[in-house]
Point group: D2
Chain length 344, copies 4
C-alpha cells in the first residue's frame, strides 16, 4: 500500500535525525532555553525580518491552537473561525475546554474574508443584547486551509486591516505553512505573514520534522507570560532542545522551503493527472492536498494500491477524496499513481 492519506506518515527528514544523533549525549538545560532553541529562534527571527519577535516551540497543532487562543481571550470572548476551521471540527473541543466559543462563519473553501469578520464584529456590537452574546475577541485562520486553499496577499492585507480596526488579534494556524508558501501562484511571503498577523505558527510536524510547531508572536501585547501558558496546557517539553534542533535544521540553508516545494510539485503532478482524466475537484488547491472527485468504480481500483482519505460523497456515484503529498513523498510513487490514474 502506498500512502497518500496524510502528510505525517513518515518520520523526519534524515538531517534532523542525524543532528539528534550527534547531539544526543550533550547536556543541556531543559524547557527550551538551550542553545539549539536559541539558534532556531535566531533563524526564524531573521527569516521574518524582525528581531523583536517572540518564538516558542510547541509539540503539536491542537496544543498550539489551544495555548495561543486561551492565552489571548478573556472569558466572555470567542474566536472567529471558518466553520471548517480545524479548531471547530477536529480538535475534540479543545478550545471550548479552555472556556471559549468558536464563532463560526460560513466558508465554502475554508477561507474567511475581511468582510465576514467585519460583519461578525458589527453584528455583535450593533445588537442591543450584545452582553448576552459571546464577544468576538480574535480571529483564527489557517493557511493553507484544511482544504488546501491559500490566502492571497491582498486578502490577508484586508483581513489584517479589519482586525486592527476591530482590535481583534489575527492568528494564523500554519500547520502546513511551508506548503502554502510554496503553493503555485502564491504571492505571500513569510515576511508578509509576520507583518500582517499578530501571532502565527510555522508547522514542523507535517513539513519535515518528527513533531513541533514554532509559534511566532509579533504583537507585543500577546507576549507576556506565554511560557506559563505553554506549561499549563501541557506543552512545555522537558527536553526542549528536541524542538530547537529540529527547527534549527529545517531553517538551515532553506531546507524547510526545499521540502515544501518538493511536496507541492508532487501534488501538482497528481492534480494534473486527475485533471487530464477530466475529474473535477472539490477545492481548487495548489498545495500538497488535492481533493479530486472520482467515480466510485474507479476509486475502488485505486484503493487496491493507494491509501487516501475519504472526504465526502459528491453524489450517488462519485466521491470526493483527499490525496496528500509531503516532504517525504517519493517520485516513483507519484509516477506509479499517475500512470494508474491515466489508465482508469
Amino acid at each position: 500500500m502506498i500512502r497518500f492519506e496524510c502528510d505525517y506518515a513518515e518520520g523526519a527528514h534524515p538531517k534532523i535525525l542525524q543532528k539528534m544523533m550527534e547531539t544526543n549525549l550533550e547536556q543541556t538545560p531543559g524547557y527550551g532555553v538551550d542553545v539549539y532553541c536559541e539558534s532556531a529562534r535566531k533563524k526564524i527571527k531573521e527569516l521574518c525580518g524582525n528581531d523583536e519577535l517572540d518564538v516558542h516551540f510547541l509539540v503539536g497543532g491542537t496544543q498550539a491552537n489551544m495555548t495561543v487562543i486561551s492565552s489571548i481571550l478573556r472569558p466572555h470572548q470567542g474566536v472567529i473561525s471558518a466553520n471548517t476551521g480545524h479548531i471547530n471540527v477536529h480538535e475534540t473541543g479543545a478550545i471550548e475546554a479552555t472556556g471559549h466559543k468558536v464563532l463560526t462563519v460560513a466558508s465554502a473553501d475554508g477561507k474567511i474574508t475581511a468582510k465576514q469578520v467585519k460583519e461578525v464584529y458589527e453584528g455583535h456590537w450593533n445588537d442591543v443584547t450584545h452582553e448576552h452574546m459571546v464577544q468576538p475577541g480574535m480571529v483564527y485562520i489557517s493557511h493553507p486551509t484544511e482544504n488546501g486553499t491559500t490566502y492571497t496577499k491582498p486578502e490577508l492585507e484586508a483581513l489584517s486591516k479589519v482586525c486592527k480596526e476591530c482590535r481583534l488579534p489575527l492568528f494564523m494556524d500554519g500547520a502546513r505553512l511551508g506548503y502554502g508558501l510554496k503553493a503555485h501562484g502564491n504571492d505571500l511571503t513569510i515576511l508578509d505573514i509576520a507583518a500582517l498577523t499578530d501571532i502565527f505558527y510555522i508547522g514542523g510536524t507535517k513539513v519535515g520534522a518528527l513533531f513541533g510547531e514554532a509559534v511566532v508572536i509579533t504583537n507585543e501585547d500577546l507576549k507576556k507570560d506565554f511560557r506559563y501558558l505553554i506549561k499549563q496546557r501541557g506543552g512545555m517539553l522537558a527536553k526542549g532542545r528536541l524542538l530547537g534542533i529540529q527547527f534549527d535544521v529545517l531553517f538551515n540553508d532553506g531546507l524547510y522551503f526545499e521540502l515544501s516545494e518538493h511536496a507541492v510539485n508532487m501534488a501538482m503532478i497528481i492534480k494534473n493527472a486527475f485533471r487530464e482524466k477530466g475529474y473535477e475537484f472539490l477545492y481548487d488547491s495548489y498545495t500538497n492536498q488535492q481533493f479530486p472527485i472520482i467515480p466510485d468504480d474507479k476509486l475502488e481500483i485505486l484503493s487496491q494500491k493507494y491509501s487516501y482519505s475519504f472526504w465526502e460523497k459528491a453524489d450517488e456515484r462519485n466521491t470526493a477524496v483527499r490525496f496528500c503529498t509531503s516532504w517525504a513523498t517519493r517520485e516513483d510513487d507519484v509516477k506509479s499513481l499517475v500512470s494508474d490514474i491515466a489508465s482508469l
Copy 2:
C-alpha cells in the same frame, strides 16, 4: 409606554408577595431544605405523577442551563441544540465556559427533530476520525422554543425514543413551560414531559414568580450530587425558602396554569388582530410570544405607544418584531393595542 417587549417586565403575582410578607420573620434553615421548599417539591412531584423525582430550585435560566448541562457531560462531550437555542446564542457562552461545545443543528422554527438527533449521533460515530471531534453527549430542547413554537406529543415521543436509543439524556429548557402547556392546540401534558425527558425545568421567572426555575430530574443516573453542582455554579440561594415559597404558591390550586392561560389568551387576541390586518408572522406561535411582520411605517406608529422587541428585517420595508404577553398583561392594554392595530 405600554410594554410588550418581554415577559419579565413586572414583579410577581401578588399572592407570592403576600406569602413572602406573611412568612418573612419565620426562621428557617438555609439552602433549600426548609418546609416551603419541601412543600413545593411535593406539589411538583404530584403534578408530574412521580414521587421519585428530584426537584431543585435555581434562580434563573442561564444558571439552570449551565448547571444541568455541566453536571451531565464528560469533558469531551457536547450538547446537541438547535442553532437558535438559548444556550447557543444568548447566554454569553456560559456552556462553553464550563468546557463544552454546543453542537448545533439547523432549525427554521427553533425545534429539532428526532431525525436530526439521529443524524448527528450517527454522523459522529460513523466518522473514522470521531475521536478528533466532540462527542454528542446529550440533547437540549426548549419548549416553547425561543420562537414561541412548541413540540407536539408525537414529536417529543420520537425525540425521547431516539435519545434513549443513543443514550443521550434529553433536557428540556422550560423557561416558558406554562405558556407551552397552555398553548392553543397543545397536546403535551406535564406528565408527558416528566415521562419523556431525563431532566427539565419549570420556569418561574417568566410565569408569575419574581425569579426561579424548578429543575426536575427524572433520570436516576443524573441525580447524584446535583446540589454540589448548584453550589459550585453559584446557584445555591442562602434563603432558599424564597424559591420554595414562590413555587409553593404557583402550584397551589393551579395558579401557574391559570396565569399561563391568561398570557396565552392575551397573545391570541393580539395574533388575531395582526392576522385580520393581513400581516404575516415570522413563526407560527400559539404561545405568549408573537412575531408579526409589520410594514415599517405602521410599526413607527405603534412604537409611539407600545414597546416590543426588534427581531429581524423581513425585507426593505417590513420588519419582524416580537410582542410578548405574560401572566401580568392587562386586558385593557391588549384592547388598546388591538384597536390601534385595527386602525393602522
Copy 3:
C-alpha cells in the same frame, strides 16, 4: 427553637418587601438598567464618595466571588487568600471551576497580612522555576472574615500598598460588610474601603435583603465588559430591579447601617454573657458572629432551646460553636439566651 445558627434565617427588612409590593406591577426594562438600580447605584457612589465607580448587583456571594475573580485573572494566575477564606473552603471549588488556583496563606484568625502577600509575591518571582508555578494575580480578603474578625485601617492600608506595589488587584468580600463597619472598635469607613481596594462588594443577603450583593469596582482597569461576565456566570437577574429596589431601600436614610448596628449590639450582649460566665472564645470577634468555647454538658442544655453552628472541638470536653445575630435578631430572644447562659 430560637435560631442563632446563621444570619440568613429570616426574609428581608419589611421596608424592602413593602417597596416590592408598591412597585410590583410597574413595568421596567430587565437586566439591571431600570430606575431602581440606577437610584441604588447613585446612593452607593455617594456613600463611597466617588462618582466614577461602577456598581453591579449580583444575587449571592459565591456568584459574586467567582464572577469577580474570573473576570480579573489570566489563565495562569491564581488568587491569594487566607486558607480559611470562603473561596477556599466553602464554595465547592467555584473558583477552580473557572480555571484558577486559590493560593493559600496560613491564617489563625482569618486575616492575611501585607507581609504575607509580599512573601508570596516575592517567593514566586524569586523562584527560578516560577513559570512552572501558578502566578499570583490578585488578593482576596473578607471583611469581616469568616471568623468575625476585621481589618484595622492601618492593616488595610498596608495591604493596599503592597498590592499596588506588586500590581495585584485587591478584592474584598463584604458579604457581612455592614457588621464589620459597625463592629465595636472598628476604624474603617466605607470611604476607606472604596479608596483602598480595587473591587469589593456590599453584602445584602446577610444584612437585611432577601438576597443580593452590590459589587463596587473602583479600579478603572477592572470595569471593562463586567456585565458580560455577570451574564456568563449565571448572575444576570432578568428582573434586575429586585436587586435595585433592595439596595435602594437599604441605603435610604442609613437603614443598612442601622440594621448592622443592631446585629452587632445584640452580638455584644451575647459575647458579654459568655465572657461573664468565664468562657473563652475561639476568635476575638466584635461583629455579629461569636465563637464561644462551651463545656459540652452546658452546650447540651443550651441546644434544647437554641440553635447554633458547630465549629470545632476545642478539646475532649469543650466545643467551639458559633452564635450569629442579624438585622432580624429579636431583643427578647437575646435576653432569653443571656439569662439561660447566666444560669448554666
Copy 4:
C-alpha cells in the same frame, strides 16, 4: 560543567535513536494505532501481567497528569494529593485549569498515607456542609515522589484498600517509575503497581526516552473514551509511532530496568560520598535524586564544576540541594564528583 541538576539533560538511549533511524521512512497510520505502538502495548501488558489493560502513550508528565485527572473527576470533585505533589506545585495550575481543586494533605517526605486519605474522605462526608466543599474524587500519588522517596508494598496496599473502600480511584504518577522500581530496598514490583492502582504511568522522558509517558489503565470504568481526552488536552501525537518505538525499545530485553538500575547505582555512590563526609540529607532517598545538606562554602566549591538544583536553605550556613543521576550519567563524572566531595 558536569550536570547533575536534573534527569533530562541528555537525549535518548542510542538504541531508541537507532530504531527511529531504521524505521524513519516507513509509512504508518497516525495517532498511535501503528504497529510500534501495538508492539509496545503488548510488552507493557505482559510486564504488568494483565492483557486487559489499556495503554496510551502521551508526550509528557503534566500532560499525562491533567489528562488522566480531568478524565476521571466530575466537576465538583477534587484530587487528594500531598502538598508537595507535582500537580500541586509545579504544573502552573494545569489541574485547576481543567476545573478541579487539588485537595492537599501535609507530607514531610512527599508520601501520603492510607490514614490521611481516610481522614480527608471522612472529614468531608461527616461535615454537614459537605455540599459546600469540594468532594474528594480520586487520589494522586507519585512514586518515587518529588523527594525521591518511595512507597513500600504494605503502604501501597493500605492506600489501595482505603481507596477501594472510599471508591476513590488511585492514580500513580510514575514519571520516574524505573528509578523507584530499582531503588535499593524497594519491595514493589510493576505487577504490584498494576494490581494496586487504578491508573498509573511509566515515565519515559526521565528514563531513557526522548520524551513520553505510558499511561496504563487497569480499572475498567476509567477506560471509556480516553483517546478523546488525549486529543482534547493536546496530547495526541500525529506521528504516534514515535512514542510506540521508544517504549518498544525500552521494554525490549529489560532495557528500561537496566537503565534505571544504572542511575540508582550512580546515585547511591554519590549518596555514600556525602554520607561519609558526614552530611545530612533532607530526604532519605534511595532513588536517582539525592538531597544532601551542604555547608555553603563547600557548595560554592562544588558549584564551580558541577550543576545541581537549589532546594531550600537548611539554615543560615547550610543548603539542601538536589543531585540527580539518570540513565545517561557517566561513571567517570560520578567518580570525579565523589573525589571532589571527599576532598571538600
